[in-house]
């Protein structure tokens, strides 16, 4: 388990939590956390720079089938998962912030 990163803000924590609950792309996270896009996206960039989050582009074929541009999906890295676990131990309420995503 990596040491606690001092730069992890509440926003970052929310985003990690949302990802852990299965909300996997930016717009979805924005919806479920209720935070504005100007907060979510820069936070995602930062988490990715800290290597707590990794991202991947969805398959071209799937997007074409649904008739829309491709999406960028985010995922927790092992480091991110560890970070989240540690934070949850400190702030128990974070785990109850928003519901688990019903469909994935």
């Amino acid at each position: 388990v990596p040491p606690t990163n001092p730069a992890l803000s509440y926003t970052g924590l929310f985003v990690l939590q949302a990802l852990a609950q299965g909300h996997r792309f930016g717009f979805d996270i924005m919806e479920v956390t209720g935070l504005p896009s100007g907060t979510i996206y820069p936070a995602l960039r930062r988490l990715e720079a800290l290597e707590l989050v990794s991202s991947d582009w969805e398959k071209d074929l799937k997007a074409r089938k649904e008739g829309r541009p491709r999406r960028r999906y985010y995922e927790l890295t092992p480091a991110g998962r560890g970070q989240l676990r540690e934070a949850e131990a400190r702030f128990r309420a974070v785990g109850r912030l928003f519901p688990r995503r019903s469909t994935t």
């Binding site: 730069a7 896009s37 100007g38 979510i40 960039r45 930062r46 582009w57 491709r70």
Partner: protein, 887 residues
Amino acid sequence: VSRLAAAVIIWVAARLVPSGMRARWREEWRGEMDAAASRGRGMMLRLAFGLPADALACRASTTRTRSGRGPWQTDAKQTLRALARSPWHVVTVSLCLGIGIAVSVTVFSILSSILTGDLPGVQDRGRLMRLYLRTDEASGPSSPGGASVDDYAVLKEGGPGIPAIAAEGRWEFAVRTPAGTLAVDGAFVSGNYFGVLGTQPALGRLLTPADDRAGAPPAAVLSHAFWTATLGAPAGIIGSTIVVGRQEVLVAGIAPEHFSGTDVGDLGEPPGLRYKIYLPLSMSPVLAPALRADERWLTVIGRATADRSHDALGAGLQPLAARIETAHPATRRNAGILVTKSGMGPRETMAVVALIITLMMSAPLTVLAIGCANVANLQLVRASLRARELAIRLSIGATRGQLVRLLIFESVFLAVLACAAGVFGTRLLLRLAALVIPFHVGIDWPVVGFVVTISVVVVMATGLVPAWLATRHSQALSLTGGSRSTSPAGSRVRRGLVVAQVALCLLLLLTAALFTRSLDALAGRVPAVAHDVVVAEVRFDTLGYSQPQRAAFAAALQERLRSDPRVQAVGLNSIAPLRHGERRFWLPGDSDDRLRAAHSWEVTPDWFEAAGLDMRRGRAFTTDEAQHGNAAIVDQGFIDKYRLVEPVLGTPLRLDRPIPAGREARSINDRPGSAVRTVTIVGVVSNAMARPIIPETPASLYLPLGDVPTYVAAYVRSSQPRDMLTQVRQTMAAIDRDLPAIGVSTLADRYTEDAGDIRLLAEAAAGLGGAALLLAVAGVYSVVAFFVSLRTHEFGIRLAIGARPRDIIGMVVRQASRLVLVGLIAGLVPGVPVLLFLGKAFPYASPFDPIGLLGPAAVLALTALAAASLPARRAAQVDPCTALRSE
């Protein structure tokens, strides 16, 4: 439509993303937009707000190191966030200090540029000395002054500690340009002139002692402005020839930009335009034959090489002064040399200069002090508002050091912003000042340092008060609402300050209004006939015309213009339009010691008709009288002033000798050898309006113009004055293409221009009034905001027991209006005598005009109350729960 808007926003924001990531970034956002679009347009708009922030984050991620943020970055972010919450605070603080800094730095920079500042193109001005020649006249010691060409020939040998001495003499040259022959201000300079000043050429070479030798090929140096603005910066100018006063002169080089000799010039001249052309002193006998050998028209300068006192330098030159006296014992009696620093007059000492600086700096420093006081007020308001926030920070574990660091960050940020505003304001003011100040003013950086230090100290000291307050009280007290009292003495000072600011502002606005109305009134004071009169000035000495040449030119000019059917009359006057000469005389029966004086002009017989004056009685001069000069014409003002008894016509006047004219007046009317003579009044004309800003009707005495002097102003009256402007120029050029026509314009335009001094005063007063208005508004705002912050608790109770927000606003604004009202009355008390005095000095508009009085007061009151309504609105928004929670 919203899809299109989203596409546009994505495209614009993508410009911020580093190009390597741009394509993927755009693709991602299109995907997100698409997802948002399925939930409605509102979602899409909400999403779009995040685009720029994300684009900036992408950009930052590539530039920032991966180490994350240090504590300083956190502080910086918190500072920005805290200040963004109170934008009015930031704006008012920067404004108050910015105005103070800008005004002080500008005024001091101008002063120091005049006295000690670097002159453009001149090296090490501190060692440059001005030399004055002091002699005794029959009446006693004369005022120290310039030297003649002969005097300079002795002086240029130099003395101990001051080996190199140079001279410059202002002259007006006739220079042939593509746009015709122009009268151009320039200087004759000694060969070592540019060497003594240490000037480097912009192009070519400057004049050297070899150019100043008799028989050297004529060479000239042009000013940068003349080369670019007048000649159009032709390439290959170096080595070409120009025609100066019919002489072909080689252009040796171009002086550096803004270079204007050692003279800082007069107000109203553009910088670097005083001298447009420099010619060697050895050419003065050819180009200026009218100059007498003993005429003291040269400015003498020297470069000191040793650190000696001015008196010691002067004493070292005494042997030269003795030789000057020996050469001209009659006119250079008891000669001596007075040495002063360049930029200072002969009589100024350091004490006088210090006094002048103190007086001139007192106003801008007052502005700075008022600005600082306002800032202190504002910062204290903020301190009391933030006491709770800081107490919370302390209670959840912030150390005192962290708080202080945070507040230092805020103060530094505010100070930097204020200084930026100050520097911007200074540049703006200097640009405005450049319109009237004839020399280049650089920002005086030591003064900037001084003023900025004061401002930073004020901001820092007041900015750290919250830290002190937060740690002084018990934290519980701060958390529950903090202190609500202030010492009454402190608030009296605050109120007094605002009252003083409002009063001062009213005074300035009233003055500005009076000047503005005076200007309007003056614009309407142009006589109707002046629109039909075209004037043109001729300086014969630019070409060294002899008396017969002058007479021939004047005759040809009048004859050719008279033959034009559009011309009604043509006349000549020896004095420039709107100026006057002066003549002393005795009325019949006056004793010899009872000398009277009247404004006087020498005119041709037709001048009266050409200038639009009516002959009321008698007749104009005859040709015979013009030759013998034994007649005079007076106006009604003359008869009234001297109570001439009927019959006025035929009254003899005994004229004194012409008043000795200085160098400036030489071209006007100076005929040596004139003696006391008697003239007879042969006519009475209507009063001519003098300058529009002189309200009284002068007593005017017109004498016949005999020989054509070296200067004349031609008056042409025509029904088509606009056509005549070019016609007069063409006619003059046809007679002699090398004689420049100066200031060809209608007489009406001359009257309008003449009101320019008042325009300058009006604009300066309006500018000062505007700055004072801003400061007064900031003062009212800061004090009202302070009182509102103290009464938050009270407002909460009032709102809780049923007061409406409207009532609270009314209450606060009423309190502010009392302050403003007291300020207005306090402004009127000194305002009435000031207006009475100004009304005497500028009697063109009534100083107690209702609009002129009430307008400024109303503007001031309304802006001040608008400023007060901002904190009042905040008071009305007090949440009773928050305010009462402390109970």
